[in-house]
């Protein structure tokens, strides 16, 4: 059990390779569905589910699918999974199905899924790929959920549908506000990430210097 490798994959998926704020993939559902927190979390969970399964299957078949036809093969697999999700949602959770509207079939061409398939699943073993898919999806859910909460609170004064205040700035639920909030979040997330990275690097560098000086003294 290579725990440090798995921990790496997990934190990469959520922080370093966060698909929404760092890789800037899958912007279409991000901009469209983060108007309400419930939609955002729902879409994030759907993407997580499909990502995990698609990464698993593609990693399973990675030695079988020849390199020339990998994109059509991946799209076939992903489309099947999305169709299954659509049928399940339509039957059992019609509320979510209606609020997703056209964006549910659009998950097929969501760049996150194809990107992780190309970038990770076709080179790594099954469990690693599944883990990476799951945590990338979690990163996506958290990012979209955060945006959804902020946009819904500022734009409609509610939190997951519960009306908190009457004052609302409708700008934030509009399309213009989506781009604006997205840009602000990318800036804040990257600034925080770089600051933390700098601190960690400085600490490592200081430790490294200490080791060197100890070696020299000996």
């Amino acid at each position: 059990m290579n725990w440090s490798k798995y921990k790496n994959i997990a934190t990469n998926g959520v922080l370093k390779n966060n698909p929404i704020f760092r890789l800037v993939l899958g912007t279409c559902p991000t901009l469209a569905l983060t108007g309400s927190a419930l939609n955002a979390f729902g879409m994030g969970l759907a993407v997580t589910f499909i990502l995990t399964l698609s990464n698993t299957f593609i990693s399973l078949l990675r030695k079988v699918i020849p390199d020339e036809v990998r994109i059509p093969a991946y799209v076939l697999i992903i489309a099947t999974l999305v169709t299954i999700i659509r049928m399940l949602l339509e039957k059992y959770i019609p509320v979510l199905f209606e609020s997703f509207g056209v964006y549910l079939p659009l998950i097929v061409v969501n760049c996150i899924i194809l990107g992780r398939a190309e970038g990770f699943a076709n080179k790594n073993p099954i469990f690693d790929s599944a883990l990476d898919g799951f945590f990338t999806g979690i990163g996506c859910t958290l990012a979209m959920g955060l945006m959804g909460i902020v946009r819904e609170f500022l734009g409609a004064g509610s939190f997951f549908g519960m009306q908190l205040m009457d004052f609302r700035i409708e700008f934030f639920t509009s399309a213009a506000g989506a781009f604006f909030v997205y840009g602000m979040f990318i800036a804040i997330f990257n600034a925080a990430y770089k600051a933390i990275e700098n601190k960690i690097n400085k600490k490592n560098f200081a430790l490294h210097l200490e080791e060197l000086s100890i070696k020299e003294n000996n």
Binding site: F167, I169, E170, F171, F172, S174, A176, G177, F180
Partner: protein, 336 residues
């Protein structure tokens, strides 16, 4: 022994400063502001003052966060944020709640001006962006919140009731006030600064005399709008004056479209820019039946870098020549 002074260029400075130009603009806006207060009362004064104060405070706070010293900030204060606040206040109706000018100013200064680099680096006109922000954010308040001024129409035969602006009434096929009333602003419901075209014109003359704006560009914009409106109204020549005198065209053309940072730097570019502005305003007004001057100016601001034709360097061949060269090169390669 003569003193030797060592310094960086520029070594000769003219008398014009950003501060001076901005103070000129503020002086030019005073007639419109005064007429707005006369027409709409103390509420108008309150709205504009709130917008100004918030703009200046936002800039201060932003500069403080950037760790500048207060003495530095006060020394370098150019009145650009004050002008933005005043313009934004003048484009609002006098009945807006207090948070509208506050949030609009914060958005205009913090996002459009400071985040992009401060004075001279805004990508679009900050007052326009602030106006559009509050328009999208508080639509119910902005579309229907206009009131009639305290001085009623002098020569019009019909009053426009219900606080609809003459522009909305005219675009929806309804009656419009007489041209004199539209020009003076009596009986015209609308934003604080846009109703009295006479006051705006006074300010414009002052700015032209002081060489702050070029007289060609506002005239080009306004006349093109009128001509396009006449064409769209099936060549009805009597629609020329009402279409240019209704709505915020004068305010936008004189004070907002001529902002230095967002207009092209060459004459050729400016001709295209302001003609396009005029056509856009008239066409969008015809299509959407609402006041679109701010949206047209925003669109053209974003497109402006494409129109920044730079003059040819000495010895450089024109772009047409470059194209012909590439074409002959490509053809000779194909012949091989």
């Amino acid at each position: 022994m003569a003193k030797i002074i060592v310094s960086d260029s520029p070594h000769i400075k003219g008398p014009r400063t950003t501060k001076g130009i901005m103070i000129d603009v503020i002086i030019a806006l005073i007639p419109a502001f005064v007429m707005g207060c006369v027409f709409f009362g103390v509420k108008a004064l309150f709205v504009v003052a709130l917008a100004c104060v918030t703009s200046v405070l936002t800039e201060f706070v932003f500069l403080l966060i950037q760790k500048k010293k207060i003495s530095d900030i006060l020394k370098e204060f150019d009145f650009t944020s004050l002008v933005t606040g005043m313009l934004l206040g003048l484009t609002l109706s006098s009945e807006v709640p207090f948070y509208v000018p506050i949030l609009g100013s914060i958005f205009a200064i913090a996002v459009i001006k400071m985040l992009f680099g401060g004075t001279g680096k805004n990508i679009v006109n900050p007052a326009i962006a602030g106006r559009i922000f509050v328009f999208i954010a508080f639509q119910s308040v902005m579309i229907s919140g206009y009131v009639l001024p305290s001085i009623n129409a002098i020569t019009s035969s019909n009053q426009i009731l219900g606080g609809a602006t003459p522009l909305t009434s005219m675009l929806n096929g309804g009656p419009n006030l007489s041209n004199l009333d539209l020009f003076l602003g009596t009986g015209v419901a609308g934003c604080i600064g846009e109703t009295s075209k006479a006051a705006l014109l006074l300010g414009a003359i002052y700015l032209v005399i002081k060489r702050v704006i070029n007289w060609k560009w506002p005239i080009l914009y306004i006349v093109t709008t009128g001509i396009m409106a006449v064409i769209l109204d099936k060549f009805n020549l009597s629609a020329f004056l009402p279409s240019i005198l209704s709505g915020g065209l004068f305010l936008g053309a004189i004070y907002m479209a001529t902002d230095y940072v967002t207009t092209p730097s060459t004459d050729k570019g400016c001709y295209i820019y302001f003609t396009a502005l005029g056509i856009l305003t008239a066409v969008l007004r015809y299509a959407t039946k609402i006041e679109v001057v701010s949206f047209a100016i925003l669109l053209m601001n974003l497109v402006m870098p494409l129109l920044n034709f730079r003059p040819r360097a000495f010895g450089e061949i024109s772009s047409w020549q470059k194209f012909k060269q590439k074409l002959s090169h490509w053809q000779s390669r194909r012949a091989k």
